[in-house]
């Protein structure tokens, strides 16, 4: 067997991540757990309080200037079906039937402490910022959508409908509002205070207090305290999390750690990283769609950003590449990956979770 796409992506994540560490600018992919920015914010979602009114969805649409939905937010019949986030919807509330009756759960980007999306993104479009948000920079995004595959919570979505400047879309934690001292739109709108905004450490304390003060009401677990290395959104619930659509198979290791493993086995990939990245870019599905002008623009923007040395390097490489060279690069990448595959097969390769099943669809 050759290289599965999933393995390939894993290495891509690893290669990108490692370079980021060298550059010393992302918290995404270290080989030890990142404890999180000490004062960072998050939101505690107390699922037992949620009534499924969708006020949070409406507020999200409003504060982010998202398109009006086809059906209004007070149409609660939408809760009959399981929905997920899409390019015009950063958050959705879903209904589940648990033993104790209907349970409503709000879903959005969990703003992981060490985000898988950031680990997978080789142009570093995602960054965990000190406020707690995982921010997205559309200017450097090349549209490869590896983040969508990497995210274990199925969050980032893509503007497939936007032919000119499509970008990845996801909840921003209302980063611009937080900077102005305002609460995230959803938190402010929730009539049941099912959403509590605050510093992550204090939210953990609040969650523990609630569990202790109401024996028997909650399962003794704070979802997001450790999942995937910890997330800024935290959840407490009366029903077991697996029964309300939340994955319990994620483990406690951050994405960066998962991808750091195979890296050791394939040092050659690290050495070849610019070539590799260019190769990825070259075989990207969007290649044909990106007009030369757009490409130049992207490159120019990347160059403007002096701190983003890696991107500049990549862009430079891109420009130099002639057609023949590209073929040569492809060959080099292929060889490197095959070699890497053989090396890595000997190693037990830690899985990256979700991507595999996604691919099979």
């Amino acid at each position: 067997m050759g290289i599965t796409r999933r393995r390939f992506l894993t290495w891509v994540g690893a290669a990108a991540g490692s370079q980021v560490v060298v550059a010393g600018r992302s918290q995404a992919a270290g080989n030890r757990q990142f404890p999180g920015f000490a004062e960072s914010f998050g939101v505690l979602h107390d699922v037992t309080r949620c009534i499924g009114c969708r006020r949070c969805e409406a507020a999200c649409q409003q504060v982010n200037g998202l398109p009006e939905p086809e059906r209004p937010f007070d149409d609660l019949s939408l809760l009959q079906q399981q929905r997920r986030t899409d390019a015009g919807t950063y958050t959705v509330v879903n209904r589940f039937e648990a033993a104790q009756g209907p349970v409503f759960v709000k879903t959005q980007c969990n703003h992981c402490l060490e985000p898988a999306c950031a680990s997978a993104c080789f142009v570093k479009a995602f960054q965990k910022v000190p406020s707690g948000a995982v921010s997205y920079n559309v200017d450097v995004c090349v549209g490869c959508r590896y983040c969508m595959i990497a995210c274990p919570f199925n969050i980032p979505t893509y503007e497939y409908d936007n032919p000119f400047s499509p970008s990845v879309q996801k909840c921003t934690l209302c980063q611009p509002r937080i900077e102005k001292g305002l609460l995230p739109g959803c938190v402010l709108a929730c009539p049941k205070e099912a959403l509590t905004f605050g510093q992550r450490g204090q939210l953990l304390q609040t969650a523990r207090n609630r569990i202790a003060q109401h024996p028997g009401r909650y399962v003794h677990h704070i979802y997001g305290e450790h999942e995937m290395g910890g997330t800024s959104w935290l959840y407490i619930s009366a029903a077991p999390f697996r029964e309300i659509g939340m994955r319990e198979d994620l483990g406690t290791m951050a994405a960066g750690q998962l991808t750091a493993g195979p890296l050791g086995a394939v040092p050659i990939v690290v050495g070849l990283w610019p070539v590799l990245l260019t190769g990825i870019w070259a075989i990207g599905k969007r290649k044909d769609k990106i007009a030369a002008g757009e490409r130049r623009q992207a490159v120019a923007e990347a160059e403007k950003n002096a701190r983003q040395a890696a991107e500049a390097k990549l862009a430079g490489l891109r420009e130099q590449l002639g057609k023949e060279k590209e073929i040569a690069v492809k060959l080099a990448v292929k060889n490197a990956l095959e070699e890497a595959a053989r090396a890595a097969q000997a190693e037990a390769l830690p899985g990256n979770g979700e991507p595999e099943s996604k691919e099979e669809k």
Binding site: K192, E193, T196
Partner: protein
């Protein structure tokens, strides 16, 4: 020694009635030295009794002094291979004979796996039988049972007995009756150290045998009743539901007190330093009302009918599994403790509206005083050594309790409270305050426990006006619940959350379905056009 035994498919909690058979038994003759070579046999007992109509139990069981022994009679339990042969010969032999007569019959030689299957061929619907207070009352008064000992004038001696280890006989002693489980452990078989049969076996040998005897008797009289004799009769949930309940329940006849003065700690303390009577007040415990409200004596007296403090000494003892008296009474998350059981009672829909919001355990509204109401004064100290005076004192205290909350005059309870917090988007909410107060008061009035623990109207008001001092006009919600900010609070919700949490959660817990939590405009009338112009 090899034992042939029959055991029930245990684990009642996994079994769902109505979707399987209540009568699956597994038959196994395995022992540590000779483990079964095949999976145990799943045996549908009622199917066999139905098929053998006209034959009596002695087809498969022995009769011993008129009572049936519920083990398979041919298997002597002495030799593994001999027992196996007996089972095979008798089961398969009977199946073969039945088949020869042209009747539908069970598996025959060679069809090993039809009997020896790892799982029951059908779901087990076995439900544990609970011998509750009502069922006890029915047996106690049944004219068909009758006493078996001279000392007994009621039916007690028919079931209750004690064991004389020297003579290895059972005898009856009046006034020492207790729950079967105190001696008969649930599943453990009798051992030389503990000759009491397992509860499972004792119950079948005792109950079913007696029902069978009564069945024979009843056959002679028209319409006479007798207890269940099939597995389904006791272990099927729908059959259990058909058992008539006795109302009102008579009290158990064991000379138990009506009221008890619980003063162990005080007594111990006075013994240590006679002058020190400051901190511990005694509890006047209403034994009579508790008796009527629990399933059986075992609800509280879980291991014996001794006083709680005999095992649960103040400092804990081996007999009480080192659970001290204070813990035994107060641990909030255990059933047999006072607080644990009261806490459980608060989950009833009538109570849960207010109580689901208060953190547990909640002593704030009533304080220790609600139970520990008998001050350690001269008068109390004087009665401690005199059982009669003690009981009289406890009774007097109990009698004074439980009047419930006298509501303030109607005019002091605002009829409508108008809340205009969201009036930018809606008309103000008109909260039917007086109606709510009355509804809560009615629910308290229906329940002795609630009456005892809501001695004043303030304890009722505190369901919503929590933490606020009990005042005729409590402070507005907004005095404590402000606007939401990004600075984490002390767990206090902001005003918007406070209102909705209080109202919606209370409605949910009390099972009030209308208005639905998401029907905003049923509480918040939509803003009329004139209003929005203003």
């Amino acid at each position: 020694m090899v034992l042939a035994f029959v055991y029930f498919a245990a684990g009642s909690d996994q079994m769902v009635s109505g979707s399987g058979r209540p009568d699956w038994l597994t038959l196994s003759i395995s022992t540590a030295s000779t483990p079964d070579e095949m999976p145990p046999v799943w045996f549908a007992h009622d199917r066999h009794t139905d098929a053998l109509t006209g034959q009596d139990c002695t087809t498969c069981h022995t009769k011993d002094e008129g009572r049936i022994r519920f083990a398979f009679k041919q298997a002597a339990g002495e030799d593994y291979h001999a027992d196996m042969a007996e089972f095979h010969d008798n089961c398969i032999g009977c199946h073969a004979k039945t088949a020869m007569q042209g009747e539908p019959a069970g598996p025959r030689a060679g069809e090993c796996r039809l009997c020896h299957t790892p799982n029951a061929p059908d779901r087990s619907a076995w439900t544990a039988m609970r011998f509750d207070h009502s069922l006890h009352a029915r047996h106690e008064t049944s004219p068909r049972i009758g006493p078996t000992a001279e000392a007994d004038s009621a039916n007690c001696s028919a079931c209750h007995h004690r064991y004389n280890a020297d003579t290895q006989t059972l005898y009856y002693e009046k006034g020492t009756e207790g729950a079967c489980q105190y001696c008969h452990a649930p599943v453990a078989a009798a051992t030389p150290d503990d000759p009491a049969r397992a509860m499972r076996q004792a119950a079948h040998d005792g109950c079913v045998s007696c029902h069978l005897i009564n069945q024979t008797q009843a056959a002679k009289e028209a319409n006479a009743k007798f207890g269940p004799i099939t597995c389904a009769g006791c272990h099927d949930q729908s059959m259990q539901a058909q058992i008539a309940t006795v109302q009102p329940l008579p009290r158990f006849k064991r000379n138990q007190p009506d009221a008890v003065l619980l003063a162990t700690r005080l007594t111990n303390q006075l013994a240590a330093s006679p002058e020190d009577r400051a901190p511990v007040s005694a509890v006047a415990f209403n034994h009579k009302s508790h008796e009527a409200n629990v399933e059986s004596c075992r609800t509280c007296h879980h291991a014996s009918l001794q006083k709680c403090s005999d095992c649960h000494t103040p400092d804990g003892s081996r007999e009480g599994a080192f659970v001290g008296l204070g813990q035994a009474m107060h641990v909030a998350d255990r059933d047999p403790s006072c607080i644990g059981c009261h806490q459980q009672a608060q989950t009833d829909a009538a109570c849960a509206g207010c109580h689901s919001m208060t953190p547990a355990p909640d002593f704030a509204a009533t304080g220790c005083q609600a139970c520990h109401g008998v001050a350690a004064d001269e008068q109390t100290v004087a009665v401690l050594t005199d059982p009669d005076a003690r009981a009289a004192m406890a009774a007097a205290f109990v009698k004074r309790r439980g009047g419930g909350a006298p509501l303030p005059p109607e005019t002091d309870i605002p009829e409508i409270v108008t809340i205009g917090t969201l009036s930018d988007a809606y008309e103000p909410v008109r909260l039917p305050h007086r109606k709510i107060v009355r509804a809560l008061a009615d629910r308290i009035a229906e329940n002795t426990l609630a009456k005892t623990f809501h001695p004043t109207s303030e304890t009722l008001c505190q369901g919503c006006h929590h933490n606020a001092a009990a005042l005729p006009k409590p402070p507005a919600c907004a005095s404590c619940h402000g606007t939401m900010t990004a600075t984490p609070s002390d767990g206090r919700p902001a005003l918007l959350g406070a209102y909705h949490l209080q109202c919606i959660t209370c409605h949910e817990r009390m099972g009030i379905e209308k208005p639905a939590a998401t029907a905003c405009t049923e509480c918040h009338p939509p803003r009329s056009s004139t209003a929005s112009q203003n």
